[in-house]
Amino acid sequence: MFNKLKNKIKSWTKKVSEKSEVIKEEPVKEIKLPMKFNAGMQKFEPDLEKIKETAKEKSFLKKITSKITKVKISGKEFEIYSEELEMLLLENNVALEVAEKMIKLLKEKIVGKELLKKEIESEIKDSFEEIIKEILIEPFDLFEKIKEKTSDQSKEPYVVLFCGINGTGKTTTIAKIADSLKHKKISCVLAAADTFRAASIEQLKKHGDRIGVKVISHEYGSDPAAVGFDAIKYAKKNLINCVLIDTAGRMHTAKNLLKEIEKISRVCKPDTKIFVGESITGNDAIEQVKSFDWAIGIDGIILTKADIDKKGGTALSVGYVTKKPILYLGTGQEYDKIEVFNKEKFIEKLGLED
């Protein structure tokens, strides 16, 4: 994944280090030779130690001379190249707002700093890596959290609420998580709180049958918050560890629907609220995730359809605007096609670490 971005960043850093203005500084030439220095003091015996040292010093100095061609990237120069970098980021689906911010941060780190020519490439890479590291929050382990809460035999189940716009794959993601829970021997129940879309309840029920977990559902058109509430009640009664609530896809621009999800969240008091988004969404991704974060305050993000396109920008965009971790990537239709989002691996794939 993300190979394209990796290659482009590489070629970009190369260009900068090749083209940027070179300030040559004359190396200091005055070197006192030990023979002269010691002439009067030690007559016939040349100080072997000192000679050795001088030899060392010389080679050291030589190194410095080759490296002393220092380079300073001016603001103007940076702008020329940063435009190219910005285009790269945008092409790779990073939202404009986020791309601009990243460039600004990079500028602060690079411009005006005296750098050795050889170090430019790695310096840019390092700075860029730092920026991405700052943007992406370390994900938490959902399963550990569930285990933690339910280990002390309290009767409270761990509740996870899933939200997102239409067709991002909430139901499929829930099925995947339920399947993983089952493999980890954590009991769970699904709440079919999408009471709007045609056949959404049947869809979740079919998943439930396949995986072998109970699905709590009401009629179509009924109150989704009530479905969630009932599922939690059921879990308490039957000592089930985890409740996964599926909600209807809703456009983040529909205020009444955002109010509805706020109500579900208020009634069900979920331990974790997860936004399910698509990794192929462009600039709109930030609007989507912002609205949901504003409405219910999300705790984590799952990006689906990561197998469709190799561009990794959406992860950066949503990670940046929410300051919330990306937990998983959905990478296919089967139940096992869900990957833990690994920050180091993500950065590695960008090609910034050698």
Binding site: M87, A199, E278, I280, G282, D284
Partner: protein, 458 residues
């Protein structure tokens, strides 16, 4: 939708039009604003660069004189944008059986779109059959069935069969009497070989007259590749873009289609069955630039009102007289269009007008009240609202209605006032022939009219 992009485009053209002298600085800022807006709308980066280069070049071209230059640039911008949006092509039904197959990624709204299209063609007098060939996603068949039942459409689904081609073979003989056959397929993406083979096979067996790719509006820079690869696998004849009701600007999807030469037939603008529109790049742009899109509005109104009523109202319109009941009828059908919120961008002058938040909702509530008020009137009052002009009886009439409808007297008065205004407006526009569509000039004229009077009322 699209307000933000439209605003920038309008500002850019305004800036150009109002500039005394187009110097490099001004051009640069305008181009930068444009670039940002287009990139934020997910328009392909390369296209954005090309467009801005062209505008820069034209703006700094010494050979064109100042005044002409402005017009030249605005026209250039307009033309380029139309080009980016792609060709206008309608989905034309043929006299033989039309087999329209929809395909696309997972969760882009294929099944919902099938129901919308079914409804669209059924309302226009076609015999429509929906065929469910999504055998992979759990409950996809149930979804199609439920949608068909809800909207009184015929759906052919084989619950027992889980092979798409076998399903088609089973259903095919039953489809003889239908002239529009809409086929739902499973969501897939280009890299999945098995599903790619399935769609190719389906294509071979079904021989669709139209193979349509469904794409979501919020898709980013990945759109082009997807469009291209679908086109390579199966010859895509057209595209439908969904989720246009969000804050997404569909730049990615739209430009991808233009580049792959796959015309956009329809756009989906909501979750309800009527939320589908024909796509016309020029009109779409006119809407973006705040000049409205009356043609589409009229189309939409046609799709929600039945023909008899339409005729009656047309007659009354020609006489320049509407009864209160007609007004409510119209307002109701407007609500089934999705309310003011959806149609305001189509009305010239209103799309660009700043309407404070919440005002539209208040207006909706008001309309509900109007309905109650009119229901509490006597038939005579409904047909001849002039009766209220008689000062002697008006007060007692209004008192009675207020009691019946549970509203304040002032609310009844405001309804009567609105009615009078509307009637006057209709008289003024009775000479305009709406059925032929409107010329750009007429639209601009209307835009001005609405733009001036307007919005205070809303």
């Amino acid at each position: 939708m699209l307000e933000k992009l439209g605003e920038v485009l309008r500002k850019a053209t305004d800036k150009i039009a109002n500039a005394i002298f187009l110097d490099k600085n001004l051009v640069d800022t305008i181009v930068r604003d444009l670039q940002r807006a287009l990139i934020e709308a997910d328009v392909n980066i390369i296209l954005v660069k090309q467009l801005s280069d062209k505008i820069k070049k034209a703006a700094l071209d010494e050979r064109i004189k100042e005044i002409e230059k402005k017009e030249h640039i605005i026209k250039l911008l307009h033309d380029e944008l139309v080009q980016i949006l792609g060709e206008h092509r309608q989905l034309k039904l043929q006299s033989k059986q039309n087999r329209i197959m929809l395909m696309g990624l997972y969760g882009c709204g294929k099944t919902t779109t099938i129901a919308k299209l079914g409804n669209y063609y059924a309302k226009r007098g076609s015999k429509v059959a929906l065929v469910g060939l999504d055998v992979h996603r759990p409950a996809a068949k149930e979804q199609l069935k439920q949608l068909a039942e809800k909207n009184k459409l015929t759906a052919f689904i084989e619950f027992e069969e889980d092979d798409a081609i076998k399903t088609w073979k089973l259903i095919k003989p039953k489809l003889k009497d239908y002239n529009v056959v809409l086929i739902d397929t499973a969501g897939r993406h280009n890299l999945d070989r098995e599903l790619a083979r399935e769609i190719k096979d389906l294509n071979k067996y079904i021989k669709p007259t139209e193979s349509i790719l469904v794409m979501p509006a919020d898709m980013g820079q990945a759109a082009k590749k997807q469009a291209q690869e679908f086109k390579d696998a199966v010859d895509i004849s057209g595209v439908i873009i969904t989720r246009m009701d969000s804050s997404a600007k569909a730049g990615g999807a739209l430009t991808a289609c233009a580049e792959t030469k796959a015309p956009v037939y329809f756009i989906g603008t909501g979750e309800k069955i009527n939320d589908i529109e024909e796509f016309n790049p020029k009109q779409f742009l006119s809407r973006l630039l705040g000049m409205g899109d009356l043609q589409n509005l009229i189309e939409k109104i046609k799709s929600v009102t039945d023909e008899d009523k339409q005729k009656k109202i047309q007659e009354k319109l020609e006489q320049g007289r509407l009864s209160l009941e007609d007004v409510v009828e119209q307002v109701k059908s407007m609500q089934s269009l999705g309310g003011f919120d959806k149609i305001k961008s189509m009305i010239p002058g209103l799309g660009s007008a700043k309407i404070p938040e919440g005002v539209l909702e208040i207006q909706q509530e008001k309309i509900q009240k109007w309905e109650h008020i009119i229901k509490s009137m006597t038939p005579e009052e409904k047909e001849n609202p002039e009766i209220f002009d008689d000062k002697k009886t008006a007060v007692s009439r209004i008192n009675r209605i207020a009691k019946g409808a549970g509203v304040n007297n002032s609310e009844i008065r405001s309804l009567l006032k609105q009615y009078k205004m509307l009637n006057e407006m209709i008289k003024g526009s009775a000479d305009m022939d709406m059925s032929q569509g409107m010329s750009q000039k007429q639209m601009m004229k209307l835009a001005k009219k609405f733009g001036k009077k307007k919005v205070r009322r809303f």
